[in-house]
């Protein structure tokens, strides 16, 4: 009844307003539109377009060849669709709404009736994929590429993450040092090919507030300031060197010409009578010593590389925002377990936050936790801050508990929609990848997790996980087999 007879299967023929509204939303989906929707999640339009939604013209390459049908879909941006179909091709979502695979086509259909489908969770800071030695420690450096610490042949952490519904992870560590390294986002596809797995989202990870007293915090702040100034200075030296090198090359060319002319003049003289050139040979400028760390920091100062700053309390936040003003950083904050009083200034600055378990469930070790500290996650959600719950640096190979954090946040007063957003669209935005991952919308990667019930219910199980349109984890194939 709801199915279209359209041979291409593209017309959105749902009769209910919700369906049309949904199709309307997704027509303005992930990459389809230009640079428009950077501000907030698109709200479901209150009035659907009067005319039936225009049939999108499907380019041959984008013709869907996979249909996930009949699921309850939570898009990650706050919408909830009952009985929706997801059309997929080339690893991307081509539409969400009411679709029918074309008759006599080779399109594959996955029956998802009774399942709830959510976007693959995005962990915006995790050390799960890193080698054990790289997770913590005392050493670091802004040139340290964390991606090189991932063992592409170790499949265990990848399966652990997929079993928890996580399909993308940003590498992060918690070393006792200011410069944590260069992060990258990995897609948990299989096989874990480099080109396939890297999805961009590089960021420079820094840390302040390691000391708890004001003096050491001040020292941390000065340390970072001088790191940034050093990077600027290094860049200045490089610029100066480039200029000098150019001048040198011009002078050298001139000199070479003159010398050649003199040589030409004295060509016939015997070798012994040849006079030395009166021209002074220009001196080659000295090249500054190469410093990859400072180069990376400078890219961050240019806004090319986002900065994730790991902080603890309000004073750290104050310092972080000061650094942002002074150096124009593209900043997000991570940690924040004791930063309750800074919620408003973070909201005002429009800085995204990555909350670890201590921030979502602050001071759960203490008997008498002030009520005001207990509702940190709620305070951030209500202040309109872009929130991502992250598994963070746990030092061991532990399952990322994003969905559990989201559920716990609900018990602390966060709405379910906000909580789900904080493990899907929120982290994708914090990583600058919201057009690619973190929501179920046209143009986004087909990274989906299917639960056999409400994902927030403890009784719900992951049925399957899809990455880039391929099912990479299926519970019925994993459960019961050798569990390591």
């Amino acid at each position: 009844m709801k199915r279209s007879t359209d041979p291409v299967g593209w017309s959105s023929c749902g009769t209910r307003a919700l369906r049309r509204a949904a199709a309307w939303v997704f027509a303005a989906g992930c990459v389809g539109v230009g640079l428009g929707h950077a501000s907030a999640a698109p709200q479901e339009p209150s009035t659907p377009p009067a005319e039936p939604v225009a049939t999108p013209v499907a380019p041959a390459a984008a013709k869907p060849n996979l249909f996930v049908q009949g699921a309850r879909v939570l898009t990650g941006r706050g919408e909830e669709l009952a009985d929706a179909d997801i059309a997929i091709s080339g690893g991307r979502i081509r539409g969400v709404g009411d679709f029918q695979p074309p008759a006599n086509s080779a399109a594959k259909v996955i029956d998802a009736r009774g399942l709830t489908i959510v976007p693959g969770f995005v962990d915006a800071a995790s050390d799960l994929l890193l080698e054990a030695e790289a997770r913590a420690g005392r050493t670091g450096g802004s040139e340290l590429e964390l991606a090189l610490s991932v063992d592409p042949f170790d499949d265990r952490p990848r399966l652990t993450a997929l079993a928890a519904g996580v399909t993308s992870m940003a590498l992060a560590r918690a070393a006792q040092t200011a410069e944590q390294g260069l992060s990258a986002v990995r897609k948990l596809a299989y096989p874990p090919r480099e080109a396939h797995a890297a999805v961009g989202g590089s960021a420079l990870h820094l840390r302040i507030g390691l000391g708890r007293d004001r003096a050491s915090k001040e020292r941390d702040l000065r340390g970072l300031s001088s790191l940034f100034e050093g990077a600027e200075k290094y860049h200045g030296e490089l610029e100066k060197y480039a200029k000098e090198l150019k001048e040198y090359e011009e002078k050298k060319a001139e000199y070479d010409k003159k010398v050649a002319k003199e040589r030409e003049k004295e060509k016939d003289k015997p070798e012994a009578e040849k006079s030395a050139s009166k021209e002074k040979e220009p001196k080659k400028p000295r090249e500054p010593k190469e410093d990859l760390g400072k180069a990376a920091v400078f890219r961050a100062l240019q806004g090319e590389l986002p900065v994730v700053l790991h902080v603890e309390d309000e004073l750290d936040v104050e310092n972080a925002l000061e650094l942002r003003r002074k150096f124009g950083l593209k900043l997000s904050l991570r940690g924040l377990s004791r930063a309750r009083a800074a919620v408003d200034s973070i909201a005002k600055a429009g800085v995204p936050v990555l909350l670890e378990i201590d921030a979502v469930l602050p001071n759960r070790e203490l008997t008498r936790t002030p009520a005001v500290a207990r509702d940190l996650a709620k305070a951030f959600a209500e202040a309109g801050v872009d929130v991502a719950y992250v598994s963070g640096s746990r030092g061991r190979e532990l399952a990322p508990h994003l969905l559990d954090l989201a559920a716990e946040a609900v018990s602390r007063g966060v709405s379910r929609a906000s909580a789900l957003r904080a493990i899907t669209y929120g982290p994708a935005r914090a990583l600058g990848l919201e057009r690619k991952i973190g929501s179920i919308a046209e143009g986004c990667d087909a990274d989906l997790v299917a639960y056999d019930g409400d994902p927030f219910s403890s009784a719900a199980r992951v049925r399957w996980v899809m990455v880039d349109g391929e099912i990479v984890y299926a519970a019925d194939r994993i459960e019961g087999s050798a569990q390591r």
Binding site: T160, R364, T367, R368, E397, L398, D404, S458, A459
Partner: protein, 388 residues
């Protein structure tokens, strides 16, 4: 008392009078009287009532009279004049923590390795702030144990988390604590090894010990809570239980499925630490692998002092990993009461039991569920509970 048959009848044929009573109750509930629920008699109407035995009653009613439960069922007749509190959520028995040292290091006595006649009841501070934290997390009874710093640190007491001080101690010695785990051993006094602990216990139980608690444990009158982490310690605990005639419970095995395989057939209940976020995959799966086991299990926070009990979170994470939800609810309530030998008073919603109740806004095993109210002995005891 309302018999089961009467309950069935009342479900199938609610009389006009009963309907009228229900209607009146609903009207009263709208006045928001829950916050001041201190009446001697009242009724709770919830979307779902979990009785603590594994049974769930949809749209159930719990009748409370003078701190005790008078009746539980669907469509029960509510006596005229009773206040009715109505809520969309779930009502269940108060949770039972099967082992926590509330009061912390003040209770530590580990100079000697065998002190069977030490009673933690004598050292309990009912005003310790952790009781309020446990209450806020829906725990209404705690089996308070001495810190596990020796092979026999003494006996534990069952204490309610709220109420009049003189009524809070339910049992002064509900179990004899025995430590076979590494935390029970010290390098500077014997025994320093597992086999040394076994020898000391065989010695004590094999001869005429003057200790009354040892005599009671030998006769099976006093339950023995044997703390054992590793598989080897679990096996030893099971073996000693068999040899020395203990009514044993094995507390805190690191891998529950492994412990279950070791004690299966021996009918020794397992008391598990609640799962938390910091456990490795092997441990997590081990809890999940219990599935729908018929073997009796319970949960003990094994907290040393403050913090949160984490019982409901731990059970929820175990359910996420694969434990059957009904089993988990029973482990938190009725199953735990049975392990303490207090099933006639605690852990289930049945006529005559203490009216220790938790009211939640959803499934107790969903992490997003909040506690709305906690009742101890029929009195609203929490003040804005929201713990775990």
């Amino acid at each position: 008392m309302t018999s089961f048959a009467e309950l069935r009848r009342s479900i199938s044929r609610p009389s006009l009078a009963r309907r009228a009573a229900l209607g009146l109750g609903s009207a009263l509930a709208c006045s928001g009287a829950l916050a001041s629920a201190q009446e001697a008699t009242f009724a709770l109407q919830a979307k779902k009532v979990l009785t603590g035995t594994g049974e769930a009653i949809e749209s159930g009613v719990v009748l409370v009279e003078n701190g005790k439960i008078r009746a539980v069922g669907a469509g029960l007749a509510i006596p005229a004049g009773w206040t009715v509190h109505q809520h969309d959520g779930v009502v269940m028995p108060g949770l039972i923590d099967l082992g926590a040292t509330l009061g912390g290091s003040a209770l530590l006595e580990n100079h000697e390795s065998l002190t069977p006649d030490l009673r933690v009841a004598d050292g309990i501070d009912l005003w310790d702030p952790s009781y309020a934290a446990w209450l806020a997390a829906g725990v209404t009874s705690v089996y308070v144990i001495p810190p596990t710093g020796s092979v026999i640190p003494g006996s534990g007491a069952v204490v309610k988390t709220a109420g009049a001080p003189e009524q809070r101690i339910v049992s002064t010695d509900a179990g004899l604590e025995i430590g076979l785990n590494s935390g029970a051993r010290r390098r500077d006094r014997a025994p320093t090894s597992v086999q040394g602990s076994a020898l000391a216990l065989r010695d004590l139980f094999g001869h005429q010990s003057p200790a009354a608690s040892v005599q009671r444990a030998k006769r099976g009158e006093l339950a023995v809570f044997a703390h054992a982490d590793s598989a080897g310690e679990v096996r030893l605990a099971a073996q000693l239980a068999n040899e020395l005639g203990w009514k044993a419970r094995i507390v805190g095995p690191a891998l529950p499925d492994q412990a279950l395989a070791i004690v299966r057939g021996a009918a020794i209940p397992l008391v598990l630490r609640p799962l938390d976020y910091g456990v490795d995959e092997r441990t997590r799966r081990s809890y999940g692998a219990l599935g729908a086991t018929a073997h009796p299990i319970g949960f003990a926070s094994l907290a040393q002092g403050g913090g949160e009990p984490g019982l409901r979170r731990g059970a929820a994470l175990a359910v996420r990993a694969g434990l059957d939800p009904a089993i988990a609810v029973r482990a938190l309530t009725g199953g735990a009461a049975a392990m303490l030998g207090l099933e006639a008073r605690l852990g289930t919603l049945a006529p005559g039991r203490d009216a220790d109740l938790v009211w939640l806004d959803g499934d107790p095993l969903d992490l997003g569920t909040r506690i709305v109210a906690v009742f101890v002995d029929g009195k609203r005891a929490d003040r804005g509970a929201e713990g775990r």
